[in-house]
Amino acid sequence: MTFDARTIAKDFPILSRTIRDGKRLVYLDSGATSQKPNVVIDAESDFYRLHNAAVHRGAHQLAEEATDAYEGARSIVANFLNADIDEVVFTKSATESLNLIAYAMGNAQIGNRFHLNAGDSIVVTEMEHHANLIPWQQLAARTGATLKWFTVTAEGRLDLSNLDSLVDASTKVVALTHQSNVLGTINPLEDITRRAHEVGAVVVLDACQSVPHMPTDVKALDIDFLAFSGHKAVGPTGVGIFWGRADLLAELPPFLTGGSMIENVTMESATWAPAPRKFEAGVPNMAQAVGLGAALTYLTAMGMDNIHQHEMSLTKYLLEGLSVITDLRIIGPKTTDLRGGVVSFTLGDIHPHDLGQYLDSQGIAVRTGHHCAWPLTRKLGVPATTRASVYLYNTTDDLDALISGVQGAQKYFGR
Protein backbone atom coordinates (compact mmCIF):
# COMPACT_ATOMS: atom_id res chain seq x y z
CA MET A 1 0.00 0.00 0.00
CA THR A 2 1.32 3.41 -0.82
CA PHE A 3 0.81 6.08 1.78
CA ASP A 4 -1.53 8.77 0.57
CA ALA A 5 -2.59 11.42 3.06
CA ARG A 6 -5.41 12.58 0.78
CA THR A 7 -7.00 9.15 0.83
CA ILE A 8 -6.36 8.80 4.55
CA ALA A 9 -8.06 12.13 5.25
CA LYS A 10 -11.28 10.65 3.85
CA ASP A 11 -11.35 8.22 6.78
CA PHE A 12 -11.74 11.18 9.14
CA PRO A 13 -15.27 12.58 8.85
CA ILE A 14 -14.54 15.89 10.58
CA LEU A 15 -11.98 16.81 7.94
CA SER A 16 -14.71 17.28 5.38
CA ARG A 17 -16.62 19.82 7.41
CA THR A 18 -16.24 23.54 6.84
CA ILE A 19 -15.30 26.41 9.15
CA ARG A 20 -16.35 30.08 9.37
CA ASP A 21 -18.51 30.73 6.32
CA GLY A 22 -17.63 27.66 4.30
CA LYS A 23 -13.86 27.57 4.55
CA ARG A 24 -12.18 24.19 4.26
CA LEU A 25 -10.98 22.94 7.66
CA VAL A 26 -7.20 22.94 7.80
CA TYR A 27 -6.51 21.08 11.01
CA LEU A 28 -2.99 21.73 12.30
CA ASP A 29 -3.67 21.14 15.98
CA SER A 30 -3.10 17.40 16.30
CA GLY A 31 -0.50 18.07 18.99
CA ALA A 32 -3.43 19.12 21.19
CA THR A 33 -5.75 16.35 20.07
CA SER A 34 -5.99 14.29 16.91
CA GLN A 35 -9.05 13.67 14.80
CA LYS A 36 -10.73 10.24 14.71
CA PRO A 37 -11.26 7.90 11.78
CA ASN A 38 -14.63 6.20 11.26
CA VAL A 39 -13.25 2.84 12.40
CA VAL A 40 -12.54 4.29 15.83
CA ILE A 41 -15.88 6.03 16.16
CA ASP A 42 -17.63 2.85 15.07
CA ALA A 43 -15.63 0.65 17.44
CA GLU A 44 -16.91 2.65 20.38
CA SER A 45 -20.50 2.71 19.09
CA ASP A 46 -20.48 -0.98 18.28
CA PHE A 47 -19.29 -1.81 21.74
CA TYR A 48 -22.35 -0.01 23.15
CA ARG A 49 -24.73 -1.38 20.57
CA LEU A 50 -23.64 -4.99 20.81
CA HIS A 51 -21.39 -5.98 23.70
CA ASN A 52 -21.73 -3.51 26.54
CA ALA A 53 -21.45 -5.07 30.01
CA ALA A 54 -19.18 -4.71 33.02
CA VAL A 55 -15.95 -6.56 32.27
CA HIS A 56 -14.48 -9.21 34.58
CA ARG A 57 -17.61 -9.22 36.67
CA GLY A 58 -20.37 -11.20 35.08
CA ALA A 59 -20.93 -14.83 34.22
CA HIS A 60 -23.18 -13.87 31.32
CA GLN A 61 -22.48 -13.76 27.61
CA LEU A 62 -22.36 -9.97 27.30
CA ALA A 63 -19.84 -9.80 30.12
CA GLU A 64 -17.73 -12.42 28.33
CA GLU A 65 -17.87 -10.49 25.08
CA ALA A 66 -17.10 -7.19 26.77
CA THR A 67 -14.16 -8.78 28.56
CA ASP A 68 -12.86 -10.24 25.31
CA ALA A 69 -13.11 -6.86 23.61
CA TYR A 70 -11.43 -5.05 26.48
CA GLU A 71 -8.63 -7.57 26.93
CA GLY A 72 -8.26 -7.75 23.16
CA ALA A 73 -7.59 -4.02 23.18
CA ARG A 74 -4.96 -4.53 25.85
CA SER A 75 -3.15 -7.03 23.68
CA ILE A 76 -3.27 -4.64 20.71
CA VAL A 77 -1.66 -1.94 22.84
CA ALA A 78 0.95 -4.40 24.09
CA ASN A 79 1.87 -5.40 20.54
CA PHE A 80 1.98 -1.77 19.44
CA LEU A 81 4.55 -0.99 22.14
CA ASN A 82 6.36 -4.34 22.02
CA ALA A 83 5.31 -4.83 25.62
CA ASP A 84 3.94 -7.80 27.53
CA ILE A 85 0.19 -7.83 27.90
CA ASP A 86 0.16 -7.62 31.70
CA GLU A 87 2.36 -4.55 31.54
CA VAL A 88 -0.36 -2.45 29.92
CA VAL A 89 -2.67 -0.43 32.19
CA PHE A 90 -5.65 1.51 30.90
CA THR A 91 -6.03 4.96 32.45
CA LYS A 92 -8.15 7.94 31.45
CA SER A 93 -5.25 9.93 30.03
CA ALA A 94 -1.51 10.47 30.05
CA THR A 95 -2.13 12.95 32.83
CA GLU A 96 -3.64 10.20 34.95
CA SER A 97 -0.82 7.82 33.98
CA LEU A 98 1.81 10.29 35.16
CA ASN A 99 -0.11 11.04 38.34
CA LEU A 100 -0.47 7.28 38.84
CA ILE A 101 3.27 6.69 38.95
CA ALA A 102 3.93 9.78 41.06
CA TYR A 103 1.19 8.99 43.60
CA ALA A 104 2.02 5.27 43.64
CA MET A 105 5.63 6.11 44.48
CA GLY A 106 4.29 8.37 47.22
CA ASN A 107 2.39 5.36 48.58
CA ALA A 108 5.50 3.18 48.75
CA GLN A 109 6.49 2.26 52.28
CA ILE A 110 10.03 2.07 53.64
CA GLY A 111 11.69 -1.00 52.18
CA ASN A 112 9.87 -0.70 48.87
CA ARG A 113 12.26 0.33 46.09
CA PHE A 114 9.96 3.21 45.15
CA HIS A 115 9.96 4.74 48.62
CA LEU A 116 11.22 8.33 48.59
CA ASN A 117 12.48 10.51 51.37
CA ALA A 118 14.39 13.66 52.09
CA GLY A 119 17.76 12.54 50.75
CA ASP A 120 16.36 11.46 47.39
CA SER A 121 15.99 13.39 44.20
CA ILE A 122 13.64 13.43 41.22
CA VAL A 123 14.98 14.67 37.90
CA VAL A 124 12.81 16.24 35.19
CA THR A 125 13.56 18.69 32.38
CA GLU A 126 12.73 22.28 31.66
CA MET A 127 10.74 21.26 28.59
CA GLU A 128 8.13 19.18 30.38
CA HIS A 129 4.43 19.55 29.87
CA HIS A 130 2.74 20.52 33.15
CA ALA A 131 1.46 16.93 33.32
CA ASN A 132 5.02 15.64 33.70
CA LEU A 133 6.16 18.42 35.99
CA ILE A 134 3.54 19.25 38.63
CA PRO A 135 2.93 15.65 39.77
CA TRP A 136 6.67 15.43 40.51
CA GLN A 137 6.69 18.81 42.25
CA GLN A 138 3.89 17.53 44.43
CA LEU A 139 5.60 14.20 45.09
CA ALA A 140 8.76 16.04 46.08
CA ALA A 141 6.76 18.30 48.40
CA ARG A 142 5.02 15.31 49.99
CA THR A 143 8.15 13.24 50.54
CA GLY A 144 10.83 15.87 51.10
CA ALA A 145 12.72 14.71 48.01
CA THR A 146 14.46 17.34 45.87
CA LEU A 147 13.26 18.21 42.37
CA LYS A 148 16.06 18.87 39.86
CA TRP A 149 15.99 19.44 36.14
CA PHE A 150 17.93 19.47 32.90
CA THR A 151 17.89 22.91 31.35
CA VAL A 152 17.07 23.70 27.74
CA THR A 153 19.48 25.43 25.37
CA ALA A 154 18.57 28.41 23.23
CA GLU A 155 18.22 26.00 20.29
CA GLY A 156 15.61 24.07 22.22
CA ARG A 157 17.72 21.02 23.06
CA LEU A 158 18.27 19.42 26.43
CA ASP A 159 21.57 20.43 27.96
CA LEU A 160 22.93 17.04 29.00
CA SER A 161 26.42 18.28 29.81
CA ASN A 162 25.77 17.84 33.54
CA LEU A 163 24.08 14.44 33.15
CA ASP A 164 26.45 12.66 35.50
CA SER A 165 26.20 15.24 38.27
CA LEU A 166 22.45 15.84 37.94
CA VAL A 167 21.58 12.16 37.91
CA ASP A 168 23.47 10.80 40.87
CA ALA A 169 23.19 8.26 43.65
CA SER A 170 20.32 10.24 45.20
CA THR A 171 18.20 10.03 42.05
CA LYS A 172 15.19 7.73 42.27
CA VAL A 173 13.41 8.71 39.09
CA VAL A 174 14.17 10.54 35.86
CA ALA A 175 10.97 11.71 34.17
CA LEU A 176 11.13 13.33 30.78
CA THR A 177 9.31 13.82 27.56
CA HIS A 178 10.19 11.89 24.46
CA GLN A 179 9.22 14.76 22.20
CA SER A 180 8.56 18.32 23.30
CA ASN A 181 5.01 19.44 22.59
CA VAL A 182 6.28 23.01 22.10
CA LEU A 183 9.61 22.69 20.32
CA GLY A 184 9.20 19.44 18.47
CA THR A 185 12.57 18.39 19.88
CA ILE A 186 13.02 14.63 20.19
CA ASN A 187 15.17 13.83 23.19
CA PRO A 188 17.94 11.25 22.74
CA LEU A 189 17.36 8.75 25.52
CA GLU A 190 20.32 6.42 25.44
CA ASP A 191 22.72 8.31 27.69
CA ILE A 192 19.94 9.22 30.07
CA THR A 193 18.60 5.68 30.52
CA ARG A 194 22.13 4.33 30.85
CA ARG A 195 23.02 6.84 33.54
CA ALA A 196 19.71 6.48 35.35
CA HIS A 197 20.04 2.72 35.53
CA GLU A 198 23.66 3.04 36.60
CA VAL A 199 22.51 4.88 39.72
CA GLY A 200 19.45 2.68 40.25
CA ALA A 201 16.85 5.21 39.13
CA VAL A 202 13.83 4.42 36.98
CA VAL A 203 13.08 6.30 33.76
CA VAL A 204 9.53 7.53 33.15
CA LEU A 205 8.88 8.57 29.56
CA ASP A 206 6.11 10.98 28.64
CA ALA A 207 5.45 9.61 25.16
CA CYS A 208 2.34 11.68 24.39
CA GLN A 209 3.95 13.29 21.37
CA SER A 210 5.99 10.31 20.17
CA VAL A 211 3.88 7.14 20.40
CA PRO A 212 1.26 8.49 17.95
CA HIS A 213 3.90 9.53 15.43
CA MET A 214 6.68 6.94 15.25
CA PRO A 215 7.27 3.26 15.93
CA THR A 216 7.76 2.66 19.67
CA ASP A 217 9.53 -0.30 21.21
CA VAL A 218 9.60 -0.05 24.98
CA LYS A 219 12.16 -2.83 25.24
CA ALA A 220 14.55 -1.21 22.77
CA LEU A 221 14.14 2.17 24.47
CA ASP A 222 15.27 0.55 27.72
CA ILE A 223 12.88 2.69 29.76
CA ASP A 224 10.90 1.65 32.82
CA PHE A 225 7.56 3.42 32.55
CA LEU A 226 5.73 5.14 29.71
CA ALA A 227 2.59 7.25 29.40
CA PHE A 228 0.51 8.38 26.45
CA SER A 229 -3.03 9.53 25.65
CA GLY A 230 -5.36 7.81 23.24
CA HIS A 231 -6.92 11.03 21.99
CA LYS A 232 -3.64 12.18 20.41
CA ALA A 233 -3.28 8.84 18.59
CA VAL A 234 -6.54 8.94 16.58
CA GLY A 235 -8.18 7.23 19.56
CA PRO A 236 -11.15 8.24 21.70
CA THR A 237 -11.01 10.81 24.44
CA GLY A 238 -11.06 9.46 27.97
CA VAL A 239 -8.42 6.77 27.61
CA GLY A 240 -4.68 6.74 28.20
CA ILE A 241 -1.99 4.15 28.72
CA PHE A 242 0.38 3.54 31.55
CA TRP A 243 3.02 0.99 30.74
CA GLY A 244 5.57 -0.35 33.19
CA ARG A 245 8.11 -3.17 33.26
CA ALA A 246 6.48 -6.26 34.77
CA ASP A 247 8.95 -6.61 37.64
CA LEU A 248 8.49 -2.95 38.55
CA LEU A 249 4.69 -3.06 38.34
CA ALA A 250 4.78 -6.00 40.74
CA GLU A 251 6.52 -3.84 43.31
CA LEU A 252 4.74 -0.54 42.66
CA PRO A 253 1.90 0.11 45.13
CA PRO A 254 -1.54 0.83 43.67
CA PHE A 255 -2.92 4.33 43.08
CA LEU A 256 -6.72 4.37 42.69
CA THR A 257 -8.37 1.79 44.94
CA GLY A 258 -11.82 0.22 44.72
CA GLY A 259 -13.52 -2.63 42.91
CA SER A 260 -11.74 -5.23 40.76
CA MET A 261 -8.22 -4.31 41.84
CA ILE A 262 -8.29 -6.35 45.03
CA GLU A 263 -7.29 -9.78 46.17
CA ASN A 264 -9.06 -9.70 49.51
CA VAL A 265 -10.94 -7.05 51.47
CA THR A 266 -12.05 -6.75 55.07
CA MET A 267 -13.37 -3.68 56.84
CA GLU A 268 -9.87 -2.97 58.12
CA SER A 269 -7.68 -3.48 55.10
CA ALA A 270 -7.24 -4.87 51.63
CA THR A 271 -4.68 -6.69 49.51
CA TRP A 272 -4.13 -6.28 45.79
CA ALA A 273 -4.58 -8.27 42.61
CA PRO A 274 -1.53 -8.62 40.38
CA ALA A 275 -0.86 -6.01 37.66
CA PRO A 276 -2.51 -4.80 35.49
CA ARG A 277 -5.66 -5.29 37.59
CA LYS A 278 -4.02 -3.68 40.62
CA PHE A 279 -3.97 -0.40 38.72
CA GLU A 280 -7.48 -0.52 37.23
CA ALA A 281 -9.97 0.17 40.00
CA GLY A 282 -13.65 0.27 39.12
CA VAL A 283 -15.60 -0.45 35.98
CA PRO A 284 -13.11 0.65 33.35
CA ASN A 285 -13.47 2.94 30.35
CA MET A 286 -14.33 -0.11 28.28
CA ALA A 287 -15.67 1.47 25.10
CA GLN A 288 -12.73 3.88 25.02
CA ALA A 289 -10.19 1.10 25.50
CA VAL A 290 -11.81 -0.77 22.64
CA GLY A 291 -11.72 2.42 20.56
CA LEU A 292 -8.04 2.84 21.32
CA GLY A 293 -7.45 -0.71 20.17
CA ALA A 294 -9.15 0.16 16.87
CA ALA A 295 -7.05 3.32 16.63
CA LEU A 296 -3.74 1.52 17.06
CA THR A 297 -4.85 -1.17 14.61
CA TYR A 298 -5.63 1.60 12.12
CA LEU A 299 -2.27 3.30 12.66
CA THR A 300 -0.50 -0.04 12.29
CA ALA A 301 -2.28 -0.67 9.02
CA MET A 302 -1.16 2.73 7.74
CA GLY A 303 2.34 1.91 8.97
CA MET A 304 4.04 3.80 11.76
CA ASP A 305 7.17 4.11 9.65
CA ASN A 306 5.17 5.60 6.80
CA ILE A 307 3.46 8.00 9.16
CA HIS A 308 6.78 9.10 10.57
CA GLN A 309 8.30 9.63 7.12
CA HIS A 310 5.24 11.50 5.93
CA GLU A 311 5.41 13.82 8.92
CA MET A 312 9.12 14.36 8.49
CA SER A 313 8.64 15.48 4.92
CA LEU A 314 5.76 17.75 5.93
CA THR A 315 7.90 19.22 8.70
CA LYS A 316 10.75 19.90 6.31
CA TYR A 317 8.34 21.57 3.90
CA LEU A 318 6.86 23.67 6.66
CA LEU A 319 10.18 24.75 8.18
CA GLU A 320 11.36 25.83 4.74
CA GLY A 321 8.12 27.58 3.93
CA LEU A 322 8.09 29.50 7.19
CA SER A 323 11.76 30.41 6.98
CA VAL A 324 11.15 32.91 4.18
CA ILE A 325 8.57 34.92 6.12
CA THR A 326 10.02 38.14 7.55
CA ASP A 327 9.86 38.49 11.31
CA LEU A 328 8.93 34.85 11.72
CA ARG A 329 11.06 33.07 14.28
CA ILE A 330 10.97 29.31 14.76
CA ILE A 331 11.08 28.32 18.44
CA GLY A 332 12.90 25.01 18.47
CA PRO A 333 15.16 23.11 16.10
CA LYS A 334 15.26 24.54 12.60
CA THR A 335 15.98 21.26 10.85
CA THR A 336 14.24 17.89 10.93
CA ASP A 337 17.22 16.42 12.76
CA LEU A 338 15.82 14.75 15.95
CA ARG A 339 12.56 16.66 15.80
CA GLY A 340 8.94 15.84 15.16
CA GLY A 341 6.09 17.58 13.40
CA VAL A 342 5.29 20.17 16.04
CA VAL A 343 6.42 23.62 14.90
CA SER A 344 6.18 26.66 17.17
CA PHE A 345 6.96 30.18 16.07
CA THR A 346 6.51 33.86 16.80
CA LEU A 347 5.67 36.53 14.27
CA GLY A 348 7.10 39.98 14.99
CA ASP A 349 4.77 42.05 17.13
CA ILE A 350 1.71 40.06 16.25
CA HIS A 351 0.60 38.25 19.36
CA PRO A 352 0.02 34.51 18.86
CA HIS A 353 -3.54 34.87 20.06
CA ASP A 354 -4.25 37.39 17.32
CA LEU A 355 -2.44 35.36 14.71
CA GLY A 356 -4.38 32.24 15.74
CA GLN A 357 -7.62 34.15 15.48
CA TYR A 358 -6.80 35.36 12.01
CA LEU A 359 -5.83 31.85 10.90
CA ASP A 360 -9.10 30.57 12.33
CA SER A 361 -10.97 33.05 10.16
CA GLN A 362 -9.30 31.29 7.23
CA GLY A 363 -10.36 27.83 8.49
CA ILE A 364 -6.90 27.04 9.86
CA ALA A 365 -6.79 25.53 13.35
CA VAL A 366 -3.53 26.01 15.28
CA ARG A 367 -2.82 26.38 18.95
CA THR A 368 -1.50 29.48 20.68
CA GLY A 369 -0.24 30.13 24.19
CA HIS A 370 2.22 28.41 26.49
CA HIS A 371 1.00 24.93 25.51
CA CYS A 372 0.99 23.78 29.14
CA ALA A 373 4.76 24.15 29.26
CA TRP A 374 4.91 27.55 30.84
CA PRO A 375 8.33 27.24 32.48
CA LEU A 376 9.76 26.43 29.04
CA THR A 377 8.16 29.29 27.14
CA ARG A 378 9.16 31.69 29.89
CA LYS A 379 12.72 30.43 29.82
CA LEU A 380 12.87 30.95 26.08
CA GLY A 381 11.51 34.47 26.51
CA VAL A 382 8.37 33.77 24.52
CA PRO A 383 5.47 33.57 26.95
CA ALA A 384 3.28 32.50 24.08
CA THR A 385 3.88 30.97 20.67
CA THR A 386 1.79 29.85 17.73
CA ARG A 387 2.05 26.12 17.17
CA ALA A 388 1.22 24.09 14.10
CA SER A 389 1.34 20.32 14.41
CA VAL A 390 0.90 17.75 11.67
CA TYR A 391 -0.37 14.21 11.51
CA LEU A 392 -0.93 11.45 9.01
CA TYR A 393 -3.94 13.18 7.41
CA ASN A 394 -2.20 16.48 6.68
CA THR A 395 -0.94 17.46 3.24
CA THR A 396 1.30 20.14 1.79
CA ASP A 397 -1.95 21.89 0.82
CA ASP A 398 -2.61 22.36 4.52
CA LEU A 399 0.87 23.80 4.97
CA ASP A 400 0.50 26.10 1.98
CA ALA A 401 -2.72 27.36 3.53
CA LEU A 402 -0.90 28.00 6.79
CA ILE A 403 2.00 29.79 5.14
CA SER A 404 -0.20 32.09 3.15
CA GLY A 405 -2.42 32.50 6.20
CA VAL A 406 0.55 33.75 8.19
CA GLN A 407 1.39 36.18 5.42
CA GLY A 408 -2.23 37.27 5.29
CA ALA A 409 -2.14 37.96 9.03
CA GLN A 410 0.92 40.18 8.57
CA LYS A 411 -1.01 42.23 6.05
CA TYR A 412 -4.15 42.25 8.14
CA PHE A 413 -2.53 43.44 11.35
CA GLY A 414 -0.05 45.67 9.50
CA ARG A 415 -2.82 47.93 8.19
Binding site: D21, H351, H353, Q357, Y358, S361, T368, P383, F413
Partner: protein, 147 residues
Protein backbone atom coordinates in the same frame (compact mmCIF):
# COMPACT_ATOMS: atom_id res chain seq x y z
CA UNK B 1 -15.34 39.61 7.00
CA UNK B 2 -16.54 38.74 10.49
CA UNK B 3 -13.04 39.13 11.88
CA UNK B 4 -13.27 42.86 11.31
CA UNK B 5 -15.90 43.00 14.06
CA UNK B 6 -13.23 41.77 16.41
CA UNK B 7 -10.27 43.77 15.18
CA UNK B 8 -11.65 47.24 14.75
CA UNK B 9 -9.29 50.02 13.84
CA UNK B 10 -9.60 51.53 17.32
CA UNK B 11 -8.32 48.33 18.86
CA UNK B 12 -5.30 48.06 16.64
CA UNK B 13 -4.54 51.73 17.33
CA UNK B 14 -4.61 51.20 21.06
CA UNK B 15 -2.47 48.08 20.61
CA UNK B 16 0.14 50.06 18.72
CA UNK B 17 -0.08 53.12 20.96
CA UNK B 18 -1.12 51.88 24.36
CA UNK B 19 -2.14 54.58 26.83
CA UNK B 20 -0.56 54.82 30.28
CA UNK B 21 1.58 51.79 29.61
CA UNK B 22 4.40 52.71 31.92
CA UNK B 23 4.18 51.90 35.57
CA UNK B 24 4.01 55.01 37.71
CA UNK B 25 6.59 54.79 40.51
CA UNK B 26 4.09 55.80 43.16
CA UNK B 27 0.75 54.10 43.67
CA UNK B 28 -1.73 53.09 46.33
CA UNK B 29 -2.02 49.52 45.11
CA UNK B 30 -0.23 47.31 42.64
CA UNK B 31 -1.61 44.05 41.32
CA UNK B 32 -0.31 41.38 39.00
CA UNK B 33 -2.85 39.37 37.03
CA UNK B 34 -2.36 36.42 34.73
CA UNK B 35 -4.42 34.71 32.08
CA UNK B 36 -3.47 31.09 32.80
CA UNK B 37 -4.72 29.71 29.52
CA UNK B 38 -2.59 31.88 27.23
CA UNK B 39 0.10 33.26 29.49
CA UNK B 40 -0.83 36.95 29.20
CA UNK B 41 0.28 38.99 32.20
CA UNK B 42 -0.42 42.48 33.46
CA UNK B 43 0.88 44.61 36.30
CA UNK B 44 -1.41 47.49 37.16
CA UNK B 45 -1.01 50.42 39.56
CA UNK B 46 -3.87 52.48 40.92
CA UNK B 47 -3.70 55.78 42.79
CA UNK B 48 -6.82 57.15 44.41
CA UNK B 49 -7.60 60.58 45.78
CA UNK B 50 -10.49 59.93 48.13
CA UNK B 51 -12.87 58.12 45.84
CA UNK B 52 -11.40 59.66 42.72
CA UNK B 53 -9.39 57.48 40.37
CA UNK B 54 -6.37 59.73 40.17
CA UNK B 55 -4.08 57.51 38.17
CA UNK B 56 -3.95 54.10 36.52
CA UNK B 57 -0.75 52.86 34.94
CA UNK B 58 0.25 49.42 33.77
CA UNK B 59 2.70 47.19 32.04
CA UNK B 60 2.28 43.75 30.58
CA UNK B 61 2.24 41.60 27.54
CA UNK B 62 -0.62 40.08 25.73
CA UNK B 63 -2.73 40.04 22.62
CA UNK B 64 -4.16 43.12 20.96
CA UNK B 65 -7.50 42.57 22.66
CA UNK B 66 -6.09 42.46 26.18
CA UNK B 67 -3.67 45.32 25.57
CA UNK B 68 -6.21 47.56 23.85
CA UNK B 69 -8.79 46.84 26.50
CA UNK B 70 -6.60 47.99 29.37
CA UNK B 71 -5.38 50.96 27.36
CA UNK B 72 -8.99 52.03 26.75
CA UNK B 73 -9.75 51.41 30.43
CA UNK B 74 -7.13 53.91 31.54
CA UNK B 75 -8.52 56.56 29.24
CA UNK B 76 -12.02 55.86 30.48
CA UNK B 77 -11.54 55.55 34.20
CA UNK B 78 -8.85 58.05 35.13
CA UNK B 79 -10.61 61.08 36.52
CA UNK B 80 -13.85 59.27 37.36
CA UNK B 81 -14.89 58.53 40.89
CA UNK B 82 -15.16 54.91 41.92
CA UNK B 83 -18.96 54.81 41.63
CA UNK B 84 -18.84 56.04 38.07
CA UNK B 85 -16.01 53.62 37.32
CA UNK B 86 -18.14 50.80 38.65
CA UNK B 87 -21.02 51.77 36.34
CA UNK B 88 -18.66 51.76 33.37
CA UNK B 89 -17.11 48.42 34.38
CA UNK B 90 -20.54 46.82 34.86
CA UNK B 91 -21.65 48.04 31.49
CA UNK B 92 -18.49 46.70 29.87
CA UNK B 93 -18.89 43.33 31.58
CA UNK B 94 -22.47 43.17 30.38
CA UNK B 95 -21.36 43.95 26.83
CA UNK B 96 -18.74 41.19 26.91
CA UNK B 97 -21.38 38.65 27.90
CA UNK B 98 -23.84 39.71 25.22
CA UNK B 99 -22.76 37.11 22.63
CA UNK B 100 -22.82 39.65 19.85
CA UNK B 101 -26.36 40.85 20.54
CA UNK B 102 -25.39 44.31 21.82
CA UNK B 103 -23.37 47.22 20.56
CA UNK B 104 -22.59 48.88 23.87
CA UNK B 105 -23.48 52.30 25.24
CA UNK B 106 -21.11 54.63 23.36
CA UNK B 107 -21.92 57.52 25.70
CA UNK B 108 -20.65 55.53 28.63
CA UNK B 109 -18.08 53.19 27.13
CA UNK B 110 -16.58 55.46 24.46
CA UNK B 111 -13.74 53.56 22.66
CA UNK B 112 -14.60 50.41 24.60
CA UNK B 113 -17.60 49.78 22.35
CA UNK B 114 -15.04 48.77 19.74
CA UNK B 115 -14.58 45.64 21.84
CA UNK B 116 -18.22 44.60 21.32
CA UNK B 117 -17.12 42.05 18.71
CA UNK B 118 -15.16 40.14 21.36
CA UNK B 119 -18.42 38.90 22.83
CA UNK B 120 -18.82 36.63 19.80
CA UNK B 121 -15.53 34.88 20.51
CA UNK B 122 -15.93 33.11 23.87
CA UNK B 123 -12.24 32.25 24.13
CA UNK B 124 -11.32 35.93 23.86
CA UNK B 125 -13.61 37.40 26.49
CA UNK B 126 -11.10 36.74 29.22
CA UNK B 127 -8.49 38.63 27.16
CA UNK B 128 -10.70 41.69 27.15
CA UNK B 129 -11.42 41.38 30.85
CA UNK B 130 -7.85 40.89 32.08
CA UNK B 131 -7.20 44.61 32.71
CA UNK B 132 -10.66 45.20 34.12
CA UNK B 133 -10.27 42.44 36.67
CA UNK B 134 -6.89 43.86 37.61
CA UNK B 135 -8.38 47.33 38.04
CA UNK B 136 -11.18 46.00 40.21
CA UNK B 137 -8.74 44.13 42.41
CA UNK B 138 -6.34 47.09 42.68
CA UNK B 139 -9.02 49.68 43.44
CA UNK B 140 -10.46 47.52 46.23
CA UNK B 141 -6.96 47.23 47.70
CA UNK B 142 -6.30 50.94 47.34
CA UNK B 143 -9.59 51.77 49.02
CA UNK B 144 -8.88 49.35 51.86
CA UNK B 145 -5.60 51.14 52.45
CA UNK B 146 -7.43 54.41 53.05
CA UNK B 147 -9.02 52.59 55.97
Amino acid sequence: MQLDNLYQEVILDHYKNPQHKKLNATYDAQVHHINPSCGDEITLNVTLDGDLVKDVSWDGMGCSISQASVSILTDLLIGKNLDQAQVVADSFMHLMQSKGTEKGDEELLEDAVALAGVSQYPARIKCALLGWMAFKDASVQALAKQG
